[in-house]
């Protein structure tokens, strides 16, 4: 789960990492008031969970409280990459001497936390990684030892931080790691971390992603989850514990297991069709869960045909079939279904479906071919 910039900055501040003065505004009047309090040039930053906010007009520098009010009224209520802006972070403008990138993430290969830094902050770190990887410093943190002073110091020297600021940089790095662990983050970055013209550190922008598997330890963030960047279907899917991602094609997919769901999308594409979604019902899904999943797919107006691919292990084919029947009894639809059931309680499942008069397939290949043929046919 990704946090907003203002939430990330609250985390930094709680861990004694300096952030700019300022706070959230949800109306132009509030923005004006905060600008008056700050009594300085201020920056307005739209709080939306998408990248490239600055280029899309979501960040503005203004020189008076009145200008803050005017600009805020333009940004608030507007959309950035189709997401409505409901809140602005109003902050003091900072005089920048140097911008660096500082972050931590999971090094999957080594099973450690990776500390990443670059003397070139403020820009897209992935772009630097591609164009000039030598400008990125990577230091592994052993989970049993934690971040040691020498590692943070080496990081400081590698990105050429001036000597008088080493001590304070080490403190920031260690506080940052403490926050990273406390939040169960899988990604946390300050970009840019700036040195001001008067020689202070300020975290000017922040991004934190919390491990979804550890959210049970952070219920306050779950309550505050911002769903404005998610589709109604994705929100509905999460409610039922389904893993759903909307794609651009017209073949709806309902599969058990992430790997098999991906392979089903792959074969559809190989056979010349386009999947409308990724949907994994997980292991051991009940009939109710299956019918919820099916409803989500059927609500997508792009869907011309539906492919259901179930390999029963923990999941029972008869439960899946019962879920399908449940939906078809309630909703009349012209969308053709191609159903392939194998594994646990396959015979019972097929019997339920035979009574409902639905199209079936024995292999994944056959199912995909039939679904693709139907999806092409039904294009007007």
């Amino acid at each position: 789960m990704r946090l907003h910039e203002y939430q990330s900055k609250e985390v930094f501040s709680d861990h004694r990492i300096p952030i700019p003065r300022g706070r959230l505004a949800s109306t132009p009047e509030e923005a004006k008031l905060i600008a008056e309090e700050l009594n300085d040039n201020v920056v307005l930053k739209a709080q939306v969970l998408v990248g490239g906010r600055g280029k899309a007009g979501g960040i503005r520098l203004v020189k008076s409280p009145k200008a803050a009010e005017e600009e805020a009224s333009k940004i608030l209520g507007n959309r950035i990459k189709d997401i409505p802006v409901r809140r602005l972070l109003v902050e003091e403008a900072v005089n920048i001497q140097q911008e660096i990138y500082f972050g931590m993430t999971v090094d999957r290969e080594n099973g450690e936390t990776l500390m990443i830094a670059s003397a070139e902050g403020g820009v897209d770190i992935e772009e630097i990684a591609r164009s000039s990887p030598e400008k990125i410093v990577r230091i592994n943190i052993n989970p049993l030892l934690g971040l040691r002073d020498y590692q943070a110091r080496n990081c400081a020297t590698d990105i050429e931080i001036p000597h008088p600021l080493w001590r304070s940089f080490i403190t920031i790095a260690k506080n940052f790691y403490e926050a990273y662990l406390e939040l169960d983050a899988t990604l946390m970055e300050i970009n840019p971390l700036v040195i001001t013209t008067d020689g202070r550190w300020v975290a000017l922008d922040g991004k934190i992603i919390i491990d979804d598997n550890a959210l049970f330890r952070h219920p306050d963030y779950v309550d505050k989850r911002d769903i404005s960047a998610e589709t109604p279907e994705e929100i509905e899917a999460r409610k039922f514990g389904l893993s759903y991602i909307k794609l651009s094609g017209n073949i709806g997919c309902l599969v058990n297991g992430a790997g098999l769901a991906m392979a089903t999308m792959d074969i559809i594409q190989h056979k010349g069709g386009q999947p409308a979604n990724f949907l994994d019902i997980g292991g051991g899904a009940s009939a109710d869960k299956v019918s919820a999943a099916l409803r989500i797919i059927m609500e997508d107006p792009q869907v011309k045909t539906i492919l259901i691919n179930i390999f029963g292990g923990i999941t029972r084919c008869d439960e899946v079939a019962a879920g399908i029947r449940q939906v078809l009894e309630e909703i009349r639809t012209d969308i053709p279904f191609i159903i392939r059931l194998v594994g646990t309680n396959e015979a019972e499942g097929k019997k339920i479906l035979a009574d409902a008069n639905l199209m079936t397939a024995d292999t994944l290949q056959e199912a995909a071919e039939k679904a693709v043929a139907l999806s092409l046919e039904s294009v007007p």
Binding site: E109, G259, G313, L364
Partner: protein, 289 residues
């Protein structure tokens, strides 16, 4: 011969009294796996499954009393890392963790603890291991496999079933099938299992099923090019997956262009691995070997 498990495997089930644990203990027993005990803290002294299997409070006691060598874990996610560490501490040599959804931070600690120990951790988020006709540890349905000379190693669950089933339908059997798990941090990687298969006399050809995310497949490609004499056939799931969208489990995500299917397929092809375009193509590629 087979890899990781054989007729001498003495297995305990951690979380045996839970719904999943109990169901799959029955399935494993029916398949012929030698299950010597279960562990559920607080339920020590009970006997389950018509008095066939004793339950202990700790892995330590279970090992002392029964001489268990292996463990399979069905404990809920928030307690599962602890269950792994408990098994390591009790001297279990093979730990198969079925549990999905263990926080990454917990796994970083586990990974570091097992690094210096003589223990093999499969998973977490693994469907387990099956050696057809001998034993199975985990949840892979026994009926979909048959004994043979194809070694199967995979990062996913039901996709693995799909593949071993299509092998069986094509008249091909499996020596051992290992699901290494779909999480970002796992105990045993492709390379470990490939090296086992390379040394296994029953295995003549290997099927490797990867998916998007991480660099496991790329590393395996380098290993295959330098160390493997046996032919490898591969499939990578997620060719149609968009970037920055997590496909189900925590490991399958293409981040900043890294870990996409294209790169993995290229690396494996360069290592001499034949790549199937979709799972049903795998049996034909094996028969060509």
């Amino acid at each position: 011969m087979s890899i990781l498990i054989n007729g001498d495997t003495r297995l305990i089930v951690q979380g045996i009294t839970g719904h999943e644990g109990m169901f799959h203990t029955q399935q494993m027993l029916a398949y012929g796996t030698n299950i010597v005990a279960g562990v559920t803290p607080g339920k020590g002294g009970e006997w389950v499954l018509d008095g066939k299997i004793p339950v202990f409070d700790s892995v330590n006691t279970a090992v002392e009393v029964t001489g268990a060598t292996s463990s399979v874990i069905f404990v809920p996610a928030r307690f599962a890392a602890d269950a792994i560490l408990e098994a390591v501490d009790a001297g279990i040599q093979l730990i198969v963790c079925i549990t999905e959804g263990i926080p990454v931070k917990e796994m970083l600690f586990v990974k570091h603890v097992i690094r210096d120990r003589d223990v093999c951790l499969i998973g977490p988020n693994s469907p387990g291991i099956i050696t057809p006709g001998i034993a199975k540890i985990g949840i892979i349905p026994g009926s979909i496999t048959k004994k043979g000379n194809v070694g199967v190693v995979s990062r996913s669950g039901t996709l693995t079933y799909e593949v071993v089933y299509s092998l069986k339908e094509a008249g091909l059997g499996t020596s051992t099938c290992v699901g290494i798990g779909g999480d970002p941090i796992i105990g045993t990687n492709f390379i470990n299992i490939l090296s086992h298969f390379e040394g296994d006399s029953q295995t003549d050809v290997i099927v490797m099923i990867g998916e998007i995310g991480g660099t496991e497949e790329e590393n395996a490609a380098t290993y295959i090019a330098n160390n493997m004499t046996k032919p490898v056939v591969g499939f990578i799931a997620g060719q149609a997956a968009p970037q920055n969208k997590r496909m189900g489990h925590a490991g399958a995500i293409i981040e900043s262009g890294m870990g996409d299917a294209e790169g993995k397929i290229r690396a494996l092809r360069n290592a001499g691995v034949q790549i199937a375009k979709y799972p049903d193509e795998i049996p034909a590629l094996i028969k060509n070997k």
